[in-house]
Symmetry: C2
Subunit: 288 residues, 2 copies
């Protein structure tokens, strides 16, 4: 549809974050700075997407460091809205994405995906970027946002960017700093996913076999799910390939972590996308 507002002379990119930035966030900022004329990032710990108050209370923060890192990555404007600014009144309006947002994280974290969809809608409505950057680590979140942008007709390109891993394979997450002594144990999840990716590259296509490769690597009782899904709908796929993603979630000590590998195959061939592995310890390695 026609847009009523003249777009700015330049293309504006948006990188929404909850702060405590790591190289995953920084890669989004750098990509936006490369592709867009102006890059805005938001830093807002969105209470709507926390199903667990304890998780919200301990969510790590370091605003000064975040601002310096964002600036160094080419961010032109860092938007740090206060709670009052985002929601002067407790919101009554909710954005839900049927099916895609209800499975997996939607089951394990009731209300989480609605909280994400609602706040992302608010950021897109208020900030009106041309491009918005999200990490593929949150594969289901990316599917939800891609679909809501399509259904609600926001004139924005949603750009999914590679997951970033520590040297030892752990997917970067602001919550990793809370793993403490459980960090070594938590490596089991990425290790299982890497094994599944190897099996896929060797020709294995069975969802059951690939999911089992993850489950077998994770201690009994820690696993929430390991499931092969169609990328855009997050429905279960029985056969890997096409556009599928093997998503997994598990709990280690006080922290619940999620991770995935994209398993894609078409007539050109097949490839497991394990993300990007850092060549040196990350900024927020371990619990330091």
């Amino acid at each position: 549809m026609a847009e009523a507002r003249a777009r700015a002379a330049g293309v504006v990119g948006l990188v929404p974050t909850m702060g405590f930035l790591h190289e995953g966030h920084l890669s989004l900022m750098e990509r936006s700075a490369t592709e867009c004329d102006q890059t805005m990032a938001t830093l807002y710990v969105n209470p709507l997407q926390f199903d667990d108050p304890a998780d919200l209370a301990r969510y790590p923060a370091d605003h000064d460091r975040d601002l310096a890192l964002a600036e160094a990555c080419g961010v032109d404007l860092m938007v740090v809205p206060g709670a009052e600014e985002m929601f002067p009144n407790p919101p009554l309006t909710w954005v839900t994405v049927e099916g895609i947002g209800e499975r997996l994280e939607g089951e394990y974290r009731p209300g989480h995906m609605t909280g994400v969809a609602t706040v992302v809608t608010r950021l897109l409505a208020g900030l009106q970027p041309h491009r918005a950057y999200f990490g593929r680590k949150d594969a289901q979140q990316l599917a939800v946002i891609t679909r809501l942008v399509q259904d609600l007709g926001f004139p924005v390109d949603v750009v999914g960017c590679p997951l970033v891993r520590e040297v030892d394979g752990l997917a970067l997450s602001s919550r990793n700093v809370l793993l403490g002594e459980c960090r070594a144990e938590a490596l089991a999840l990425s290790r299982g996913l890497m094994r599944a990716a190897d099996r896929f590259d060797q020709g294995e296509r069975s969802a059951t076999v690939l999911e089992a490769a993850v489950r077998d690597a994770v201690p009994d009782g820690a696993m929430d799910y390991a499931r092969l899904c169609e990328v855009s709908t997050m429905t279960r796929a029985t056969v890997a390939g096409g556009e599928t993603v093997l998503v997994a979630a598990a709990r280690f000590g006080p922290v619940r972590i999620i991770d995935n590998v994209f398993l894609v195959a078409d007539h050109h061939g097949a490839s497991a996308d394990r993300g990007i592995r850092l060549g040196r310890p990350s900024l927020i390695y371990g619990s330091e």
Copy 2:
């Protein structure tokens, strides 16, 4: 919040309609043309907001007349999206407004207010107007849209405009053309509301008394509801004044009609807003 996109040199007004325009719609267009540099109107019979397929099937249409009328009222751009353009895929994304959208019409027409909120969000997201004009005849719809714009942070001013009535008091509605022989009977609803407005102007403040004035005027069995509500929340008010609205809905033959009077009182005084009454038969008077 800062907006990423430079606003056009001028202010853009939006008038969303479902077509088969009457003087209510035209008054919105004229007001936008007066207040804004550019006026866009949309003509889209939104299937998401019809709970009754028969109601959707018989909804009247006259595109050629609509386009000529809109142009004469100063509309610069008439957007007439096809179903394919609005929803290339059946939408999975829904915008709901808790409470405000669940009462009254939300009870009598399940899904209606969610359909309205979802499509209005889509129009605001895609068209990015600075001002959006809605009639006060749909008082609950106006409350829902006002709240969703606030909660989702759309940088748009929602402008509520007076209800417009036929010479004999019937509130204008595109569906009036379907009343046929029931038209005379249907006048009972506006007559009851006018009586309540008179009572209010004479000092009556009791919700029970004012609601009864409406119910007493409408034939047994035709009434869906007559309720005094707070304007912004649509919760029931027991005392008229402040910002209240007496909303009512009733069924006459094949048509369900809604109507209202705003009953406002503050330290300056009190006034019942009955809307604007045409001095001549409307464009779509009766069933012609």
